[in-house]
């Protein structure tokens, strides 16, 4: 089977999961106590007004009708109206999603760039001081709450040293005229990097630690492989063995872990956005919950699920692309 067909099949397989996510989200949101109309109109609204609003948002219909209406809406990209923002939910999400994706991508870039050398050195110098340091760093990394790392980074690097801003984010595609201290596109990008640095480390540390752990154990296994012994017997230099023979094979479990880490990172983004006051998806879902904005709660939860499912599929495809043994699911 070709890679393209495999890709299409993976996406087709994801459809029941996506419908499942919609279902869970819908029924959870339906359990939310309190009346959204009351929140909108105050405690003593006029009866006609209430009914008009109920009809407008479809709240007067029975639950199964609303479920199928919502499901078909999702299929056509209609996630309903946000009561709080008085705008389509999808519009709000499209506004906020790029911010969260930018944060996530930079966090993973940071994690991968630091974790792979750490893991490889750790495996190469097994049980030497460098290995111990890297193992302790990764142990602390998996045990520290990401929001606390954020707080400590703010205290040290923003308040005491004053190197980085403590809050907010400048989007790389923002208009230079709107960004303080940036006259040109380059200036905007510099501001973006400046603002992104601390949140990136705050969110990326856990991923870094997890990838380091897997990279290490995977490289340790790989360096004991038959092909490595054979290469050594042929007199291939050790650095070439590590770089070419052992390294490539060892990356497959690492890709799996990156895929699974997406779930923690998406949850972590909610916390990191709170700590650094970044207006992304995480803040959007918290705002939605605090204002009992049903449609927005459902929409944001859904999109979090969708992003994760798509991320897992992308890592699966990368995996099968890199691993010659995978035959694209032919049983």
């Amino acid at each position: 089977m070709s890679l393209l067909r495999y890709t299409l099949r993976r996406f087709a397989q994801a459809i029941p999961v996506l419908i499942g996510i919609v279902t869970i989200t819908f029924f959870l949101a339906n359990q939310i106590p309190g009346d959204p109309v009351e929140i909108m109109l105050g405690p003593t609204p006029a009866q006609e007004q209430v009914e008009a609003i109920r009809a407008q948002y479809g709240l007067d219909r029975p639950i199964h009708v609303r479920y199928f209406t919502y499901l078909s809406g999702v299929a056509t990209g209609d996630l309903g109206l946000s009561i709080y923002y008085d705008r389509p939910v999808l519009e709000m999400i499209l506004l906020r999603l790029p911010v969260t994706l930018l944060l996530m991508l930079s966090a993973f870039a940071f994690a991968i760039v630091t974790a792979i050398p750490l893991g490889v050195i750790s495996a190469k110098r097994r049980n030497e001081p460098a290995d111990h340091v890297s193992r302790i760093v990764s142990l602390i990394g998996v045990s520290t709450p990401s929001f606390w790392i954020g707080l400590v980074l703010i205290i040290v690097f923003a308040f005491y040293l004053g190197w980085f801003p403590a809050r907010g984010l400048v989007l790389p595609w923002a208009d230079p005229a709107d960004v303080r201290g940036a006259a040109t596109r380059i200036g905007v990008l510099r501001q973006t990097a400046h603002h992104l640095f601390l949140p990136m480390i705050g969110l990326g540390t856990l991923q870094m630690a997890q990838i380091t752990r897997i990279e290490r154990s995977s490289m340790v296994d790989s360096l004991q492989g038959e092909y490595v012994k054979l290469a050594r017997a042929y007199g291939v230099p050790e650095s070439t063995i590590v770089r070419k023979h052992a390294f490539q094979v060892a990356q497959l479990p690492v890709i799996t872990i990156i895929g699974l880490g997406l779930s923690t990172a998406l949850g972590g983004a909610v916390l990191t956005e709170t700590v650094f006051e970044i207006q992304g998806m995480g803040r959007l879902i918290i705002t939605a919950i605090n204002n009992q904005d049903y449609q927005l709660i459902m929409g944001t939860t859904l999109v979090f699920g969708f992003v994760y499912v798509i991320g897992v599929i992308v890592t699966d495809i990368t995996y099968s692309y890199l691993d010659p043994r995978v035959t694209y699911g032919d049983e």
Binding site: V17, F147, W148, I214, S263, T264, G305
Partner: protein
């Protein structure tokens, strides 16, 4: 943590494959064997010390709260402002100084924004963290074991349905799922615990199911079935006890993960509500005072770090100690 579930998942077949005859299988399971291995493994021992210490602190706090002096605990932890004259807000730890004054011995780690002693609140936070960590893990373990065992043992459509449902739960990032769950049912600590427990179900489900599928065809299970033992008894008397080692490792790691998630939830305003002394909630309150009193933000975080490190070291140590490949 997904990493650990993946690795222990991989290790599971080795446990039964390499252990040879039935006598050896017998020797490799159970509490006594585990304790013996843990004593011999340095990492597991260090983990045991940390977890033991934290458990002791938590029990001490609970004992103090319920048995010794409820009134004092109430005053120190919850309502220091009953006596506004003596309230010393945002003091630094002993030996340090900030704009609110100098650290005093009476409050070794300083005070919070309402003048409450940080050390007592951090100690009391242990009680909440440990309770939540253990109970959430118990819910995940219980639910995951039942679903995984039934699913793996019966196979067929039961398996399909149960696995699709847990996969879907797993497909929503778990912090978001717990937040949505708590919005629907309630924002206090009980629902945080149940919610985190539910997100742990898929992890244990996968672990138990893979064990059950591999053990289902073993001779002793066949023999039990031939002898007319009921399915339920085969699952709970034979199959589950044989999955003890990997489940114990995963459960230990899961306690740490649960503590982290619940701290995050409390930080966001879900879970423990003020004035309950929970670590996440203390960190959340400290956000407004990071510049004048940075130490307020430091200690609850260190408490979380030490506790979770304890469970992670213990989990890693148990994995090494109970892994036949390393012992052989």
């Amino acid at each position: 943590m997904s990493v650990n579930s993946a690795t222990s998942d991989d290790d599971t077949p080795d446990n039964s494959d390499e252990s040879g005859g039935p006598d050896e299988v017998e020797a490799r399971v159970g509490l006594r064997y585990t304790l013996k291995q843990v004593r011999q493994d340095t990492t597991a021992r260090i983990g045991t010390y940390i977890v033991g210490f934290m458990t002791f602190v938590a029990i001490f706090a609970a004992f103090d709260y319920y048995v010794l002096d409820y009134a004092i605990a109430e005053a120190v932890l919850y309502n220091p402002e009953t006596d506004p004259q003596n309230v010393r807000r945002l003091l630094p730890p002993v030996g340090m100084e900030n704009q609110f004054g100098q650290g005093v011995l009476e409050h070794p780690l300083g005070t919070d924004h309402r003048g409450r002693d940080l050390l007592s609140r951090t100690i009391y936070g242990t009680r909440i963290a440990m309770t939540v960590g253990f109970l959430a893990t118990a819910i995940g373990l219980g639910g995951g074991t039942v679903i995984g065992a039934v699913s793996g043992y019966y196979g067929g459509w039961i398996d399909d349905v149960l696995q699709r449902v847990t996969e879907t739960i797993y497909a929503i990032p778990f912090l978001v799922l717990v937040i949505a769950f708590m919005t629907a049912f309630g924002r206090d600590l009980t629902f945080a615990m149940v919610g985190v427990g539910i997100t742990a179900i898929p992890v244990f489900n996968r672990l138990i199911r893979s064990r059950v599928v591999s053990i289902r065809e073993e001779d002793y299970v066949e023999a039990a079935r031939a002898a007319g033992v009921k399915d339920r008894n085969i699952i709970f008397r034979h199959i589950i006890p044989n999955s003890f080692a990997p489940v114990l490792v995963q459960a230990t790691l899961q306690v740490g993960v649960s503590i982290l998630i619940v701290a995050g939830l409390s930080f966001l305003g879900f879970g423990a509500q003020p004035p309950t002394p929970s670590w996440g909630q203390m960190l959340s309150a400290s956000r407004g005072y990071m510049l004048p009193a940075p130490t307020f933000s430091i200690f609850p975080g260190i408490a979380i770090l030490i506790t979770v490190i304890g469970f992670n070291i213990l989990g890693d140590g148990l994995q090494d100690a109970l892994d036949p490949r390393i012992n052989n």
